[in-house]
Amino acid sequence: MIEVKNLTKKFGDLLVLDDISETIHEGEKVVIVGPSGGGKSTFLRCLNVLEDPTSGQVIFEGVDLCDRKVDINLHRQRMGMVFQHFNLFNNLTILKNITLAPVKIGVKNYRKQRTKNFFIKFANLFRKDKLQIVPIATYPAAIKEEARRRAVKLLDRIGLLDKADVYPSTLSGGQKQRVAIVRALAMNPKVMLFDEPTSALDPEMVGEVLELIREVANEGMTMVIVTHEMGFAREIGTRIFFMANGKIAEQAPPEEFFTNPKTDRLKEFLNKVL
């Protein structure tokens, strides 16, 4: 599903990702662990090109996202992302946080189609072989209503329906992160990318967020998770990457990863964190 080829990222002279090639298949839950500064977050952010790779390719559903000609926004809609610091839109209510992207994108597509149809009609005035007008399936009001209904459903699922009209500043960290997760889910993504989703939370709130991630994982979502929660990594991952010095130093299924580490670097790391 996601194919990474010779991915390299430099910040100035600093080599953060060093020629990484890897494939993530549909339905996999890849967990990335490793020491700070090892390139975990950068790798994850390169997957949806929030960070522009210096060289290499990220091929998602057969399209190279690093290609400048590709409409990256179209493909990002299929990749949800959850951040360490939640990044909810502070100026919008919780409900609007969730509906913003579906509505904006839906309405934009509608306008595009309408403009296109207008030009087709105009062109048809001068053509003998008439062009076919593409009928418009949904209208802005319907798009808004649909997005709203979906958002209400998602909020109901995480038990925060009563918070729909409040602003993010009134929510606790755990609530914010859960909203951030359903905000990403509202776009119907194929892949979810989690960038240390519990690192900025109180220990007490970590559980509720992990529970939601677990639920989403059990529905068969493809996931790439950067985390420091080793127990969670072991439980949920189908494959675990150990990233250090800009490379995937070791990878294995969780049992083997934790019980039988091969490289010295990973042994040392596991000794420290476990």
């Binding site: 990002r76 949800g80 839109f89 100026n91 913003l100 808004k144 209503e145 602003y167």
Partner: protein, 332 residues
């Protein structure tokens, strides 16, 4: 024979309907300032957006270069000179009086050229203020927008700009206040604005003090009104604050906030009160008086009734609407 202070003020303001002159000046000042503020906001926001996008992505290099020149030139020259250049070089040529605005209405040229002059001037300062505002918004907001598949422009419009505007309201209104007072230099090019009234009155009554005091008070009132608008806007925009509790405006537009604060403004309620029918309050459609805000609220009530949860309102508050509203408020 020395006149008393009261007589002097009477001479300067009331005698022979001289207050009409003040009002005429006030009208000019208001119209010029309003045009200038609108042009200033538009230019400022556009320039700031160009700078921001250029900084984030490296695109729009040519535009960014042009805006830099614009800001440098405008900030580097006195507004009086800019005004003289606009009035005597650009809009009045050797070919004769090429006063474009006069074609529209009498005296319109002065308003338009004046508004354009001060708008262009203000735009440079507003741009710098808003640019600072953009930079004060957390980068994560942009990343979140982009990660959802929104384009750069969509994110800037829906997320970054509203937050930036909120951060920069005080310096922005400071700039508007300066702008309103700055228009008093229009007298130099012979435009009858408020700042020129005292000299005219003085030349009639030979008393300098009263007209100066009167005009000073009028400027003061203008600035106080602006400050009042700033306070209202600040309060409205602080709705996303944790401890905002003055009026319940969650997810509502600025207009509905004003309506709650000043019930007089609420057309629906007024009609309902005069009709004495309480039940008709809920039905927006039958009561819509034809104004835009009524249509909006009728629309949202429609969504409310259709939505899964009856309580939630879908206030259609986009930043565009807010801008329009604040503009309308200033017009009042």
């Amino acid at each position: 024979m020395e006149k008393s202070l009261g007589e002097k003020f009477y001479d300067a303001f009331i005698k022979f309907d001289r207050w009409e002159l003040y009002l005429k000046g006030l009208k000019t000042t208001l119209i010029v300032a309003l045009i200038a503020i609108i042009i200033g906001i538009v230019i400022g926001v556009v320039v700031a957006m160009v700078n921001y996008v250029n900084k984030k992505t490296g695109k729009l290099k040519v535009l960014n270069f042009i805006t830099k020149i614009y800001v440098t030139v405008i900030r580097g020259t006195p507004v009086v000179l800019q005004m003289f250049i606009m009035f005597t070089v650009i809009f009045i040529t050797q070919l004769g009086d090429l006063k474009i605005g006069s074609l529209v209405w009498e005296g319109g040229a002065d308003y338009l050229i004046g508004g354009l002059t001060f708008g262009l001037n203000s735009g440079a300062y507003v741009a710098e203020i808003i640019r600072a505002g953009f930079e004060s918004v957390d980068d994560g907001q942009m990343e979140a927008g982009r990660s959802l598949g929104l384009s750069m422009g969509q994110t800037v419009r829906a997320v970054i700009t509203p937050q930036a505007i909120r951060n920069v309201l005080p310096p922005l209104f400071n700039e508007f206040i300066i702008l309103v007072k700055e228009t008093s230099v229009l007298g130099y090019v012979g435009v009858m604005d408020l700042g020129r009234v005292p000299s005219i009155i003085t030349s009639i009554t030979f008393e300098t003090m009263p007209p100066l005091i009167i005009v000073a008070c009028m400027y003061l009132v203008l600035v106080l009104i602006l400050t009042g608008i700033l306070k209202l806007l600040e309060k409205y925009l602080s709705k996303s604050d944790r401890n905002f509790k003055s009026v319940n405006v969650r997810g509502k537009s600025f207009i509905s906030y004003l309506k709650e604060k000043f019930p007089v403004l609420d057309k629906k309620k007024r009609i309902a009160q005069t009709a004495g029918a309480e039940s008709s309050l809920t039905d927006g459609k039958t009561l819509s008086g034809g104004s835009d805000s009524d249509i909006v609220s009728a629309d949202s009530s429609y969504i409310e009734t259709k939505g899964a949860v009856g309580e939630r309102t879908d206030g259609t508050d986009t930043p565009k609407e807010e801008n329009a509203e604040s503009g309308g408020e200033e017009a009042k």
